[in-house]
């Protein structure tokens, strides 16, 4: 049938949208959840756009040689320092308890739960995650491990990766998992403009996937990559039965009740009210993975503060949020049996500056905007102690962080002369000595209004700001099309920074750009592709240090805060971060709010 | 509280006794003295007619007896029913007194029936509340009552709404409703004024008949002395909030003393009058009752008025229970005749009303 504007927007903005969006997004820029109107953001980080090969090797690629020390982490595991109380599995805890119903609060609802048709953003992941097993996932250190796959192996330089499936895996409908299902799911995802946007360009357009035998397939990329399986740690790695996919194509209503291989099955789902999952009695990995709850209920509650109140009142067991007010509410409830697991090492709130716009193609204007930005005030008044100031795209705790790079904000005194110079040369861009600019913000929400007012006030001396507030997905389309001079979004923060390349590479710049700043630096591209192809962690770290300096000097974006992803739980909720893979490896916890629910138990 | 009643009544004691009743209303322009020291007795089985023009205080008196005045009314005086202080009973919220011992029928049957309830319900309601009848008992009793008051097809009527009935029928329904609990005292406030002339007499006869058969007492309030004649045992004529003349009916009609009574009598059409007989309406209008002058209130309209009428309010003279009147120059007496002829000679009364000589 017909025309859906959003579909259009998505399609037009396509690329951008998703990739970005997805990742970035979940939190809509500074404010993030708590915006009732914003739709579930798409998510993705994972979708690794331009997977390419490096030298062939056996997988998994582990970073064993560089075990992260306490202050320098490879990735962003649970930040125990900000955990108000240790949940879960500490010593002296009673043993795990089977059964019971886990009630979870999600800050948004999704269109559906079909990973081949709907964006599986963080809140949707809470509903769909337990229904599926991914082909790969991250261990606690952030290295990928095979999950539904038995192995991932590089073929040649890494342009091709061979994946061998586990045998004996059954879907909820009783059919067995085989290579045909993987091929069908991957092709369905490629065919969906929304889902494929950020990863399709990385795969061979003619034959992106080929079946080798009943349990083996090969993925064919366009560039050597040492890290391709990262892409399959997200919704791209969720596999659906091929026969079901055909039915779902004919009947979109099935998107609400997908069939997977995971420990839980969808029992019922009422949009905007509740999604009920029940335990899969025939889980293929029952001997490998302890599944505790009998039933999971996920409630979409757009107002995170309200969800926090309900958690405190004991009406929810667990919730995920990135909203400042909700995080503070949860923290304050520590003495009422509420614990928080906070992660500030993932994505950032970023003001992207369109370097191709008439105003900001002049680096002096970009510098002036950066200097004039009162980041301290933003962090104090909008972060309120939950989200720390960002100096680069990496949190200081991470090994990738270049400690020498500092962002040049809060230097308003340096902005004046630059603005004057710009206006002297480009009077058409200015009025009354101020540069005219268009700002795009995600919203509407209380937070977006505050961000708007704060930015407009701090820039007001030098810039005349005309703000547009739009729902996040529409905003991202506009941003991808270059309709604003500056736009607030949330970005970066992939578990492996290789997945963030798409936001910076020249190849992402076109009519529709995933590179929102539209700044092309061939040197940076070379560096990014170099690190992609190699496994040498020292060299990769070196490269990323260099990229942070390049980014700063380009004044292509202003980083505001490191987003705080918080899981709040009641004290009878255990093992929130104790999930393990089929081989017994602890899984990465709180990946931009995504946690595994099926190994949580209630006392 | 059903003990409140007439069981305790001693022979010779009145059923209802009113002493020095005053009713005042506070209005924005000042106090209105609607009733000014009214006293009367009513004996068991008797009918008292209270007669007067509108505004004379007769309806207010009746409403006072029934405790129906708005809260703004200030009442003093004594009203006893079978020895009980009626106002105290009312203030105490005594159940089953009004409606069972004494009740009232209003002037306009159009408005005194609830338009949104079936007539049967309205009758049955009283029976159920006061006498504890079941729904079906009350209903069949309501049918009987309607039959008693002469409503044709009573079984059908009980299911009808008031607007479906004619005025005469409605008043019969009101009467049936009032009589449902066999009250000892019925106050009928202008019961026929609002109905068609042709049925007035039927209604009055009905009331009289029922009173007789049930041994009820009745206060019949009317502006029409003719209505009182033949139906009332005693008559009290009210003017400007006072009783100006009272006597048993025979005495009063035979030997009236107050010029107002006389004027009232003349103003009624009589069946034996010729068709084009000219009635004598009472000249002038009833007095304003705010800050009345210390004078005979009727003086400005009275053909007998002399200067002494303007100095002080005449007392109601005479023995209680006998013929009493409040007039300095009563009609049918020498003083009256003298006053009249003096005024006729002057062509004007002491209060300034012109008097024609051709009377």
């Amino acid at each position: 049938m017909a025309a859906r504007r959003s579909r259009i927007h998505r399609r037009v903005g396509l690329a951008a949208v998703i990739a970005f969006a997805l990742a970035a997004a979940a939190c809509g820029g500074g404010g993030e959840s708590g915006e009732p109107q914003a739709p579930p953001a798409s998510e993705p980080a994972a979708a690794e756009p331009t997977a390419s090969g490096g030298e062939a090797d056996e997988a998994p690629v582990a970073a064993e040689q560089n075990p992260p020390d306490e202050s320098e982490l490879l990735v962003a595991p649970v930040d125990t320092t900000t955990t108000t109380a240790a949940p879960g599995d500490g010593g002296g805890e009673p043993g795990p308890v089977y059964g019971g119903t886990l009630r979870v609060g999600a800050y948004a609802e999704g269109d559906g739960l079909n990973p081949a048709a709907n964006a599986i953003s963080t809140p949707v992941f809470l509903m769909a995650g337990p229904v599926f097993d991914p082909l790969a996932y991250f261990d606690a250190d952030g290295n990928w491990i095979p999950f539904l796959a038995e192995s991932w192996t590089k073929v040649g330089d890494g342009s091709v990766w061979r994946m061998k499936l586990r045998e004996g895996v059954r879907f909820h409908d009783g059919t067995g998992l085989d290579a045909d299902d993987v091929v069908a799911t991957f092709q369905a995802q490629l065919a969906d403009p929304l889902i494929s946007i950020a990863f399709r360009p990385g795969f061979d357009p003619d034959e992106p996937i080929r079946k080798i035998d009943n349990h083996t397939v090969e993925f064919v990329g366009v560039r050597p990559s040492a890290h391709l399986p990262n892409a399959f740690a997200t919704q791209i790695g969720m596999v659906l039965p091929s026969e079901w996919l055909q039915r779902a194509a004919a009947d979109p209503a099935l998107n609400q009740m997908p069939v997977g291989t995971g420990p839980f099955m969808v029992q019922s789902r009422i949009q905007d009210e509740v999604t009920v999952l029940v335990r899969n009695p025939d889980y293929w990995a029952a001997d490998l993975i302890d599944v505790y709850p009998d039933r999971i209920e996920v409630y979409p509650i757009p107002d995170s503060s309200a969800a926090a109140q309900r958690l405190i009142a004991g009406e929810l067991d667990l919730m995920v949020t990135a909203s400042t007010g909700a995080i503070l509410t949860l923290r304050d409830a520590a003495d009422q049996g509420v614990t928080t697991i906070e992660n500030v090492r993932a994505d950032e709130s970023v003001l992207f500056i369109n370097t191709k716009s008439p105003v900001f193609s002049d680096i002096r204007a970009r510098q002036a905007l950066t200097f004039a930005t009162d980041q301290d005030l933003y962090v104090e008044l909008l972060g309120e102690g939950t989200a720390p100031a960002a100096e680069s795209i990496f949190h200081p705790d991470l090994i990738w962080r270049n400690p020498e790079v500092a962002q040049e904000t809060n230097m308003a005194e340096r902005a004046g002369p630059l603005v004057a110079e710009h206006c002297a040369e480009h009077p058409q861009n200015c009025s009354e000595g101020r540069i005219n600019m268009r700002l795009g913000l995600p919203g509407p929400s209380v937070e977006s209004d505050r961000a708007r007012d704060l930015l407009a006030a701090t820039w007001g001396e030098f810039f005349d700001v005309d703000t547009t507030v739009k729902p996040l997905d529409e905003l991202i389309v506009d941003v991808a099309l270059g309709n604003y001079d500056v736009a607030l979004s949330s970005a970066f923060g992939a578990v492996d920074p290789d997945n963030d390349v798409i936001f910076m590479e020249c190849g992402s710049i076109s009519f529709i750009s995933l590179n929102f700043s539209r700044h092309c630096d061939p040197e940076r591209d070379d560096l990014m592709y170099e690190q992609r192809a190699i496994e040498d962690l020292d060299r990769r770290v070196e490269i990323w240090h260099r990229i942070q300096a390049i980014n700063r000097d380009a004044y292509e974006s202003i980083l505001l805060t490191h987003t705080n992803w918080t899981v709040g739980a009641r004290d009878n909720v255990h093992n929130v971060c104790g999930a393990t893979g089929p081989a017994g490896d602890p899984l990465f916890c709180n990946n931009q709010g995504r946690i595994w629910l099926h190994q949580i138990w209630l006392s | 509280m059903r003990s409140v009643g007439v069981g305790a009544l001693m022979a010779g004691d009145p059923l209802l006794s009113v002493r020095d009743l005053h009713v005042r209303f506070a209005t924005e322009r000042g106090d209105v003295n609607a009733v000014n020291g009214v006293s009367f007795d009513l004996h068991e089985g008797q009918t008292l007619a209270i007669v007067g023009e509108s505004g004379s205080g007769k309806s207010v008196t009746a409403k006072t007896l029934m405790n129906l005045l708005p809260r703004s009314a200030r009442v003093s005086g004594e009203v006893t029913y079978g020895g009980h202080d009626v106002r105290a009973l009312a203030a105490a919220g005594t159940k089953h007194f009004f409606g069972v011992q004494m009740t009232m029928v209003f002037q306009d049957p159009m408005t005194s029936l609830n338009p949104v309830k079936r007539v049967g319900e309205q009758i049955a309601e009283t029976l159920r509340y006061h006498l504890g009848r079941s729904r079906s008992e009350a209903r069949s009793e309501a049918v009987e009552l309607l039959d008693t008051v002469g409503v044709p097809e009573p079984a059908r009527r009980v299911r009808q709404y008031p607007h479906e009935l004619s005025g005469g029928l409605r008043q019969r329904v009101v009467i049936a409703m009032a009589l449902a609990c066999r009250p000892r005292l019925l106050i009928a406030d202008e019961p026929t004024t609002a109905v068609d002339v042709t049925v007035q007499k039927h209604l009055l006869d009905l009331l009289d008949d029922l009173r007789r058969r049930r041994g009820m007492s009745m206060i019949l309030i009317t502006h029409d002395l003719g209505v009182a004649r033949g139906r009332a045992d005693d008559v009290a004529v009210m003017y400007a909030g006072r009783v100006v003349e009272t006597a048993d009916a025979d005495t009063l009609f035979a030997d009236m003393r107050h010029p107002y009574t006389e004027a009232l009598l003349r103003s009624i059409p009589r069946i034996e009058d010729p068709v084009h007989h000219r009635l004598d309406p009472i000249q002038g209008r009833p007095p304003e009752s705010i800050d009345p002058p210390e004078a005979c209130a009727f003086a400005p309209r009275c053909a007998y008025a002399q200067s002494d009428c303007l100095n002080g309010v005449p007392e109601l003279d005479g023995l209680l229970g006998l013929h009493r009147f409040a007039c300095l120059h009563p009609t049918g007496t020498e003083r009256g005749a003298a006053a009249m002829s003096a005024n006729q000679a002057a062509g004007v009364t002491a209060a300034g009303m012109p008097v024609g000589g051709d009377r």
Partner: protein, 274 residues
Amino acid sequence: MRRLGFCFWLAVGWLAMMALVATFAPLLPIADPTEVAFGGPREAPSADAWFGTDALGRDVFSRTVHGARISLAVGGFAIVFGMVVGGGLGILAGYFRGRLDQGVGFVFFVLLSFPALVLAILITATLERSLLVVSLTIGILAVAPVGLLSRASTLVFAEREFVAAARVLGATHGRIIVRELLPNVVIPMGALTLLGMAVAVVAEGSLAFLGLSVAGDNAISWGKMIVDGSGLRDLQNAAHVTMFPVAVMFATVLSLNFAGDRIRQHFDVKELAF
């Protein structure tokens, strides 16, 4: 003629004060309402910030004062629009009767067939939300109620002798309407101005609360201030951010209603069918 009473003048005094401060807000010796970090975030009321500060440390008092500008401007414009358009149509319908009357009456009836806020949403959904559009939208809501009133008054006066006399003297329709009817119809309409304005102010507040009122960086309105402070945590920790604008808005609407109701009684006009 009843006396209007002390409370009436109290209400009028409040309204006059609001109108004055709204008009001269930029000239008043108060903080810049957009100045972020005027104080710390969510500070309680003090001598420096009478109503305390909001989440961005802005002076709530100054913002409340400036917030009156949009509320009153929209309210005032809307009711004037309603009177000009609705009043005009009502007079024409009441004077000419016939087809015109039926047509206009039907239009009014249809307008009243939408719940007010829903009609406003339908309009704001399709147009940019500028000050003019929002004012017009709310003004359109006022057309039918005001129009019905002016039609009713016109019907009464059109029967009077002075109109008949004017007609006999050969006055044109236009002249009769302007010279004879208008002055008479304006009185009852005028008596309802304040009541209508109260409705308009609330309507604007509701739209602002929903984020559908005047957009723009400098748009401070009471509805927006109230929604800004109404998150659960904000309410719990800094209720003053919300409660002061609520109180001022309440006092203003109450004054409009009260004074309006008194004036309505004074001129003995029936209530409006908003």
